[in-house]
Amino acid sequence: MNSHVSDAVFRRGRLLLWGGFLALAFALPLAFKSGFLVSLLCQIGIMVVFALSYNMLLGQTGLLSFGHAVYYGMGAFITMHMLNIIGKDGSPLTTALLPLVGGLAGMLAGVVLGYVTTKKAGTTFAMISLGIGELVAACALMFPGFFGGEGGVSGNRVVGKGDLLGFTWGPQVEMYGLIVAWAFLATVAMFALTQTPLGRMANAVRDNPERAEFVGYDTQRVRYLMLILSGFFAGVAGSLTAINYEIVTSETLNAHTSGVVLLMTFVGGIGFFYGPIIGAILITVMQIVVGGMTHAWLLYFGLFFLFMVLMAPGGIASVIAIQRNLWMAGLFGRMVPHYLAVALPVLVLLAGLVGLIEMSYALLAGEGVGAGDTATKVMKMELHLNTPGPWLAAVGVTAVGMALTRWIGGRTRAAWNAALSTLHGDKA
């Protein structure tokens, strides 16, 4: 009965956590009255739902999909067409309910396409999902009537007359409220799903499909159902993106979008429910903030992804989980000085690398120094790329950073390993 008590406490803690996040989500735009921040938060809300829906496949069922944007895109296109069909007869209420329609569209796409893709798991599934993704992306260009060709389909989210409790969804901040509401509902629903028989059997199928068959479950059916439900939530996310941007292009359902959601989910951590939330927030911020500062942001993104795969394959969530375990065991305090010690050389290394990348990029991309390019902004200095000075400086800083990182990093690693072995020793 002990477990029940702790269950109850845990549940209250969980409620607090949910409530806290919801309050924070609503408070942020009120605290900082910035249009940029609201737009950024809108995109984050949408991506959180999309990444969580993707992790229903990757993390929970063990299905690596390269075509998840198909369900997202179908939700977006159907929503946009619905919005245009409703047109003048619509109301803010119907607009607010459109994500449900988008979800059903994603779900229907899941019913049709998932029937083919989920026949097999593993590499076969990954390949078929890639094929289907390409197929649908090709269709998007072949049927401009539905997909709008190169220009996409656009609409206006403020349709009809009147308002819903004062909301018309016209101002971005109202749109943000709608996104938060849907994202919250979808997140709660997706979390609840992990606590059901289907959700648990999806984990079982991920771990060991053969054994799942021998306890009475049709693994193909489990995969199919999970894909359909995942398609629903991807469709909700796609629908929100359609209403938010009032335009949907074929980019919404192509391989690039599928790739981004995979990276978000993976970077955040597929082994934890909240992992994709972290990944969606981080990557979206990187995309928009770093993307606004430098043209080379995709390169940084690639480097960051490489770093994560090599250093923390469990994603950010797993790093957090380990820190939490260290904290619980009273070992976190002894690691803090090491973290701080290694942070400095890493920053030096990063500064050197950023300098090199920015200067190379400016030179190769043919953009003049000071022509709004970022090397000068980031480092607050005017650089002449045709002289060896800046290059030598950047190489020097990089080399020093690398040497220091290796030296101090080695000691941090040793301390880290010692802390981990103490941690596991305590457990055993």
Binding site: Q195, T196, M201, V215
Partner: protein, 256 residues
């Protein structure tokens, strides 16, 4: 008269040109503990794979409680009340001991693919999983991920998952393989306890286990059953002794 738990007739299995099972006829009576022994490579595990539909049958018939089961999928056979364990531990590595067992009982309790039931609210699934956990002696490992259990604990969990659904025909593939003497004794006691009133078929190399547990023994040699009889009779069977040339049937403790 009720049909036997399992009736196998004329069963054959080829892998390419090689015949692994070459015409097996065997009745497993209801409620008996039946051991299948034989030298390495005789086809014991293959026979299990055929009965449980892990491998497709080349020719012949298999009836489970009077019902033809040829062509069914593993999960369909499982739903008809046949459950099996594996020679190589086959558990859900990332799930806890408790979750492993709960997964094993969900279908038999009728929860199917439900995404509208809350697992925490399913008292019957929890109680059954906890009862099995108690039975296999892993109650103190409830929340441990199955992947980091000791070998003997994983073998016990393997048996637990197999029996949890309440299937009445149990197939155990070398349940004591790789265990120490004392672990084997515990496993035998466990198997005896949890298969009470059920039909048990097991493949086993440890003759101590076989002669201690089995009501009847079948000897499989080169894909054919050369004898099926009570343990005492098997011990004096000339053909069996020839097949086990040079091996003492009394204390034989064969390992692969």
């Amino acid at each position: 008269m009720t049909a036997p738990a399992i009736r196998i007739s004329g069963l054959k299995k080829n892998f390419g040109a090689s015949e692994i099972i070459r015409g097996v006829d065997l009745d497993i009576h209801r409620g008996e503990r039946h051991a299948i022994i034989g030298p390495n490579g005789a086809g014991k595990s293959t026979l299990f794979h055929l009965i449980s539909a892990r491998l497709p049958v080349t020719a012949g018939a298999i009836e489970l409680k009077g019902e033809n089961v040829i062509g069914l999928k593993p999960f369909e056979i499982n739903r008809k009340g046949l459950s099996r364990s594996f020679q190589i531990t086959n558990i859900f590595h990332n799930l806890s001991v408790f979750e492993n067992l709960r997964c094993a009982v969900l279908w038999s309790l009728g929860y199917r693919y439900s995404f509208w039931h809350r697992l925490a609210g399913l008292a019957d699934a929890r109680l059954r999983a906890e009862a099995v956990m108690e039975d296999i002696g892993l109650a103190n490992r409830r929340d441990t991920p199955a992947g980091i259990l000791s070998y003997a604990e994983q073998r016990a969990l393997e048996i637990g998952i197999t029996i949890a659904s309440g299937a009445d025909v149990i197939l155990l593939d070398e349940p004591t393989a790789g265990m120490s003497r004392s672990e084997t004794d515990d496993a035998v006691a466990l198997i005896r306890r949890v298969t009470e009133g059920k039909t048990l078929v097991m493949v086993e190399h440890d003759m101590g286990v076989v002669f201690g547990l089995a009501d009847r023994i079948s000897v499989l040699v080169y894909g054919q059953i050369i004898a099926t009889d009570a343990p005492a009779a098997i011990r004096c069977n000339a053909a069996v002794q020839e097949a086990y040339l040079g091996t003492s049937m009394n204390v034989g403790n064969e390992h692969e």
